[in-house]
Amino acid sequence: MKDRSDLTPKEINRDLLDFPLHKPLWFFGVSLVFVTFITAGLVTAGFLIMVGVGVMGIDRPAMWAFLITNFVFWVGISHAGVMISAILRLVHAEWRRPVTRAAEVLTVFSLATAATFPFLHTGRQWRTMYWAFPYDFWRGVWPDVRSPLIWDPSAIFTYLTGSTLFLYVALLPDLAVAREYAKGTMRKVYAVLSLGFRGTTRQWRLQALAGILLSALILPVFVSVHSIVSWDFAVALVPGWHSTVFAPYFVAGAVHSGVSAVATIMALMRRLFRLEKYITPDHFDAIGRLLIPVACGWLYFWWMDFYFGIYSRATDEVAVQFSRTFVYPYNVLTPIFLLAGFFIPVPLFLFRRVRRNITAMLWLTLLVNVGMWLERFIIIVPALTYKQPFSFSWTAFSPTWADWLMTLWAFGLVLLGVLLFAKFFPIIPLYDIKEGQTIKAEVQIGRVKVPAVVRE
């Protein structure tokens, strides 16, 4: 961490509360674009509910396609919050400070968005609630916990509640600061939300403990959520899904796409909110270095899945892997996802100059997520479209306008959510930055001054 500037508490408050307390014109323009995406999605969802899931490109035998791809993709992105926030908090990584909140916010909105997809996918949305939640005492119809599709809501509900609470607890001190700067109704809102926080030593001590405890509690939930998402596939008997490495494979992929998404959001925030003093090339350097082993782990699991698929010489498994590799359009999409997800960005992350180039990192991390979306598509669709001996009704999957608009809806929902959050709350934790300024020091070694951090 070399790029550190000396900032006073007043300066930090002014810089980081500037966006929540003022309204730049671009905010309205950008929000309008996202609102358009969401409206298009809402209209599509309404049409889907009215007419049926047939408006999507799904047809026998591929009944899972874009909606489920989007679900898995956004659940994956939601793993950013835990990876960045909880793990880096537990290991006291100093570079976490300006990054944690954006990661947590991204988690909450991407997870909430992901949850809409299986709901729409079920086809009879008005019945979905009593499939998933035990409330229908009148009819005596209860969720079947033996179905993996019931594990999903329980895992997502736990992760979403936990992430939201995690975000709120870490936000409490900053809400108290915002309370002192805001006027009118917003002041009252901040006053209620901050619960009268005033920064006593007891409150700070408990804040620190809360960070550690909640991180430690949410980590096992993080692992379970994507494992359970993978079991939606792995406990089925569909060739190409029935793999024991699916849970770690999915978790590694989620971390890869989630951490990349955090880098993308950071680059955008830095530019839009003028946070150059707080988000520096050092942070991108650190994320780039983190992404190298994460991406290698993900590629390793992908290879395990592919390798054991063909090594078994089971006809169905081999046929699915063959389809993923040689049958159009998957023979085009598979190299694209491998190039975009690993072989283009990761070798470039090896270069310090690339990692410290924020524009390059923005585009490379976006590329990773293009690859990761395609990877989820390749996992799901070719396995279903494989023509088994008793497939009498068979069509290849082809996305319709509804598939594309629902994909756009997700991007609109997540990005508008993050933008609105940043509009009302500090997107960088004020107290964390101030603490970093308090405990930083410089040590003179020979003729150089080396930045150091004082730790208890």
Partner: protein, 182 residues
């Protein structure tokens, strides 16, 4: 004793540096103020013991354990209850099928632990509270450090003097809530 406690008022000294605040804490202790009469307010966390403050006692660790136990119980109730109430054999699995129950019970356990931890943090932080005394907006706005003293009777003036002598840039509190005993 209860009446004396009720008459106590909060005097708040505002300091620019951690060193001056720590000096203020020492001076107040030397004058006979007890540890639980003193509190330091800052805009960000400082290393433990920076102001010579006493160790904080709390029961935060009990909360996640209680929450986990409650969550586990609810998870078990849901998984057992729903299967017993709607006993349809699916996939050849027994009615009380343990492996899938573990997934739901695990999520229930973790959810309980997470919710109770947050409740514990709020409860142990003595929140929510009103900000009518023992607080000044300059602490969070300008980064000043507050040293709060709970005092009664003659101690109020003594505390104000000690805070000023220690280098407080301002002393607030007592004038907003006059000591009714005198």
């Amino acid at each position: 004793m209860a009446r004396e406690m009720a008459r106590r008022t909060a005097v708040l000294g505002l300091f620019r540096s951690a060193e001056a605040t720590a000096d203020g804490v020492d001076a107040l202790r030397a004058a006979g103020f007890r540890d639980h009469d003193l509190d330091v307010l800052t805009d960000s966390p400082f290393p433990e013991g920076a102001f010579g403050e006493r160790e904080i006692h709390h029961r935060l660790y009990v909360f996640p354990l209680m929450g986990a136990a409650c969550g586990f119980a609810v998870g078990m109730l849901i998984t057992v209850g729903t299967q017993m109430s709607f006993p349809i054999v699916t996939g050849g699995k027994p009615i009380l099928s343990i492996p899938p129950m573990i997934n739901v019970m695990y999520e229930g356990t973790m959810l309980g632990a997470l919710i109770f931890t947050v409740l514990g943090v709020i409860f142990e932080s003595r929140l929510p509270r009103r900000l009518d005394r023992g607080y000044d907006p300059r602490i969070l706005r300008d980064g000043l450090i507050g040293l709060e003293v709970k005092a009664a009777g003659d101690q109020v003036d003594a505390a104000r003097d000690l805070l000023r002598q220690a280098g407080a840039v301002d002393v607030v509190g007592a004038e907003r809530e006059p000591d009714r005993a005198h």
